[in-house]
């Protein structure tokens, strides 16, 4: 049984995640994103970006492992092995680019139990090294009750 006392809490900020140029290229290739600003530094700079830019869903690649770390912590009491992803949203306050150092704070927004399932909404606030907001992601995660 997940511990409802976590609802409303913000977890400790993550260690900074350094966005790698090659990681963005690898991700763009994996999803078939062909835009040159995602793979070519010169094209990205010509378009006004400091380095290659990440496709919109890239943020989940570094927020999901942080979520996994929280959900596998026995303190919360979540059955990670039977979890499915219910929904996902991503809001980008600015593009993510190579060289960004991003810190994520997980907010435990909602927890409910319906129809034999626990439903958990987690929001991740992602900021750069200067503290400016970069992205907000929200995931609805479901596991058997």
């Amino acid at each position: 049984m997940p511990d409802a006392s976590f609802v409303g809490m913000a977890l400790a900020p993550s260690a900074p995640y350094l966005v790698g140029r090659e990681k963005i290229r690898e991700f763009a290739l994996a999803i078939g994103e062909g835009a040159s600003v995602c793979t070519d530094v010169d094209a990205a700079r010509a378009a006004g970006h400091p380095d290659v830019v990440a496709p919109p869903t890239f943020a989940v690649t570094f927020t999901m492992p942080l979520i996994e770390g929280f959900l596998r912590d026995p303190a919360f009491g979540w059955d990670y092995s039977r979890m499915v992803h219910g929904d996902q949203s991503i809001v980008l306050h600015r593009p993510i680019h190579g060289g960004d150092e991003l810190v994520t704070v997980i907010h435990v927004e909602e927890l409910s139990t319906r129809g034999g399932s626990h439903l958990l909404t987690l929001r991740c606030e992602v900021a750069d090294s200067g503290g400016s907001p970069v992205a907000t992601t929200k995931a609805l995660l479901v596991t058997a009750a």
């Binding site: 994996a30 999803i31 994103e33 835009a35 990440a54 869903t57 690649t61 039977r82």
Partner: protein
Amino acid sequence: MSVEKGPVEKGTELPPLELRVTRADLVRYAGASGDLNPIHWSDRVATGVGLPGVIAHGMLTMALAGRFVTDWAGDPTAVRSFGVRFTRPVVVPDDDEGALVELSGKVTDVADGVAKVAVTARFDGKTVLGRAVAEVVLPA
């Protein structure tokens, strides 16, 4: 965004796209995203948890739908937000054909230089993403 596709307004349809997702694509996405859940590469584990077989990462399906929108926009950074519900799994067979995913989309609203695009993703004739909506910043 290129001008030759004409004005973007409510009702504008995006050019549809058909994609094939193979096991090799799942392996590549697993590595690129760090999502190594074995239901996305092991039939033994996938069927063991009651799935018909290996399924695509929901986030891969979302990323492909996102790419469909960024292709249309002509700029990956034009997508300001994107949200989906994962309604059905995309089952990916262990063959050279893979799973066929059909993407279509329509502009449902334009306000303050931002177009709302509703995306439909189908596999096996059924939608696999629900409430898939992207906000796309239009060129000034």
